[in-house]
């Protein structure tokens, strides 16, 4: 009864895997690849989600590097197209996901695999040893979501300043930014600089415009 009274302004449909998509491509049909992975690593694939003719293959984090090696050396996915992190921000435990888009140039196949990453221990093995192209993408993912890639040769921030303290694409980071976290120029010509723009160079840390709670705060 209560359910029927719920008014949905826009009815929210669930994604249906069997729905025929007008823009589905033949290149994303990778059932044979899924089979090949399953034969070689029986425990690797935790879930396969199908939508719009695309298969998102969830790989367990422990065997992820081995699966990538097999993809590159045995299954012909030599070309890494894209790599990025997703903040799921749900109550379910692994908070982040990293998605990888590989292409097999010989067979004309496109593959998407995903790995889930815990919030407390946001570390993934880096695939820069296998795919040089992952270098900047992993740096970007670290910058945006704070996921660290173990074995990356040079894991610096990609876009944000080196001494920036936050990871802006996490869902809890406000869209307007955190005031005082970036050394911005004064708003008027007469205005003063809000903070030292080169704090890191002067062996300091950027000033905070808000008060952080004390560590031993009783209340």
């Amino acid at each position: 009864m209560a359910d029927s009274l719920n008014f949905h302004f826009t009815p929210v449909d669930k994604a249906r895997p069997d729905e025929e998509n007008l823009h589905a491509k033949a290149s994303t049909d990778v059932t044979d690849v899924i089979q090949a992975i399953q034969e070689q690593f029986p425990e690797a694939i935790t879930e396969v989600v199908v939508y719009a003719g695309e298969r998102t293959i969830f790989i367990a984090g422990e065997v992820f590097l081995e699966v990538c090696t097999a993809l590159k050396e045995e299954l012909g996915f030599t070309y890494l197209v894209d790599l990025a992190g997703v903040d799921r921000f749900q109550e379910e435990a692994p908070r982040y996901e990293v998605y990888y888009c590989f292409v097999n140039l010989q067979k004309g196949k496109r593959l998407r695999i995903k790995v889930r990453v815990e919030e407390d221990d946001a570390v993934l093995p880096s695939i820069t040893g296998l795919f040089k192209a992952a270098d900047w993408n992993e740096r970007e993912c670290f910058d945006m979501l704070g996921i660290r890639f173990e074995g990356h040769p040079d894991l610096r921030r990609m876009f944000m300043p080196e001494d920036f303290e936050y990871h802006p694409q996490r869902k809890e980071f406000p869209l307007l930014g955190i005031p005082g976290s970036l050394p911005l120029p004064p708003r008027t010509p007469e205005g003063e600089l809000t903070m030292d723009p080169f704090a890191a160079a002067h062996s300091g840390s950027p000033a905070k415009s808000y008060q952080e709670p004390a560590e031993n705060d009783e209340n």
């Binding site: 929210v12 449909d13 876009f159």
Partner: protein, 438 residues
């Protein structure tokens, strides 16, 4: 005392003021003494900068860097030993912004990414949303999108050619190619009402139809510029200076190009036939006749040849599209998925409500849907990976920007080349910082 003797030879020049002469003489003697003691000591020996390593910081603001790109190069003499690129000076966080916009609302932001070919970005975004929400696009809209995407490709390559030649020292071609871009701007102006940031594509179709004047302008452009582009080929293909500057510069083998993840003309310049228009044909690219230019040398000259040939292929595609342009609607007729036509909005209550609803909530793809759609933008594979949570805003909008991946490859391409090749190399991979910095 060599200083004194040489000075006395020219004594008559300064003889008008003997006191002055004495002062100069004293100063020169003291300087000479200072220099000779300094040269005698081991500690103060200065290394010759050109014989040893030095670090040179180029950018972020220099006209030849095509935007705010900072290159830090470690030089051994004149040769680049190691190059590290620093980007992010134009970072606006569009991926974050997309998460708080409706799908249609975000479309104008894509204009500002690759600002040399805004139309291609609009189409890339709209097609990604159309795949995510399974929206049908009418035939006529697909053909028009193809025409405009190819015009955007020509526009982008024209800028690359003019600026690339200016980097190599020929300023006049820059002015000629900008004349071509001016003609293209007039076409975009006629089609969409904006010269630069067009924002013309809509989810499920287009904002407006092509006027007959616009079609005439496009056909006229296509006819005229075939000759113009061939003229540039005549000027450059056998030009000694241009070839000397570009041949065997920044050579990348096919395997390296794949490993570095290069896309677009840079990948095809190394002999990898990867073009989304044939790899995963979108719109009507599987119905038109064109070839993908391919070279195997992998140097700047190969990339030059490919881009110029691509312009000619684009003109071929535009002619075919204009010939086959069907009559019909330019936007899908589904009020939950696309904007209603202006006639409906102005003359019917439902139309107006739908217009409001679409602006307010917009299209709502099903919950849990995720899709990746890529198009071949002038710079390479431009893909959007979208995840939906069932609301009108994307849960995650990932932009796979071709300039970002291409710049990554530039780091290793630069190594082993003289400093003078830096500008040519940056020009030849054709980066746009608006896109690379997101």
């Amino acid at each position: 005392m060599p200083v004194k003797s040489s000075f006395h030879d020219q004594e008559n020049i300064f003889s008008f003021w003997p006191r002055h002469n004495e002062t100069i003489l004293k100063r020169l003697e003291s300087k000479d003494a200072w220099l000779s003691t300094r040269r005698g000591t081991e500690v103060s020996r200065v290394k010759d900068a050109l014989e040893h390593e030095m670090t040179l910081n180029i950018g972020p603001q220099h006209p030849a860097t095509h935007g705010v790109l900072r290159c830090m190069v470690k030089l051994d003499g004149e040769l680049i030993e190691k190059c590290v690129l620093d980007i992010g000076y134009l970072h606006r966080g569009v991926e974050k912004l997309a998460e708080s916009k409706t799908y249609q609302e975000f479309m104008p932001y894509t204009d500002r990414m690759d600002y040399l070919a805004p139309y291609a970005n609009n189409v890339a975004w709209c097609m990604a949303v159309e795949k995510l929400a399974n929206v049908e696009i009418p035939e006529r809209a697909q053909w028009i999108r193809m025409i405009m995407c190819e015009l955007a490709r020509i526009s982008s390559h024209l800028l690359w050619l003019g600026v690339g030649l200016m980097d190599a020292g020929a300023v006049s071609v820059f002015l000629w190619t900008f004349q071509g871009r001016e003609d293209l701007y007039s076409i975009f102006d006629e089609v969409s009402g904006a010269r630069f940031t067009v924002s013309h594509s809509r989810i499920g179709g287009l904002a407006t139809d092509l006027s007959s004047k616009a079609i005439d302008m496009i056909r006229d452009f296509a006819i005229r510029y075939e000759e113009v582009i061939k003229g540039w080929q005549k000027l450059l293909n056998r030009n000694r200076i241009w070839i000397d500057r570009n041949k065997d510069v920044g050579t990348v083998s096919a395997d390296e190009a794949i490993a570095l993840g290069l896309t677009g003309s840079n990948l095809r310049g190394s002999g990898v036939p990867y073009d989304i228009r044939t790899f995963e044909p979108y719109l009507k690219y599987d119905e038109v006749d064109f070839i993908i230019p391919l070279r195997e040398e992998g140097d700047c000259l190969a990339r030059y040849h490919i881009r110029v040939e691509e312009m000619l292929e684009s003109i071929k595609i535009i002619h075919q599209c204009l010939d086959r342009l069907p009559e019909g609607p330019i936007r899908a007729d589904d009020a939950k998925k696309t904007y209603p036509s202006k006639n409906e909005v102005y003359y019917s209550m439902e139309g107006m409500i739908h217009d409001f609803m679409y602006t307010e909530t917009g299209i709502a793809p099903p919950e849990g849907a995720a899709a990746y759609h890529a198009i071949e933008s002038p710079k390479g594979e431009l893909g959007f990976y979208l995840e939906s949570d069932g609301t009108g805003c994307p849960w995650r909008a990932r932009i796979n920007a071709p300039s970002f991946t291409n710049l990554q490859g530039l780091e290793s391409m630069m190594e082993g080349h003289p400093v003078a090749d830096i500008v040519v190399l940056i020009g030849s991979i054709d980066p746009v910082m608006g896109e690379a910095d997101k």
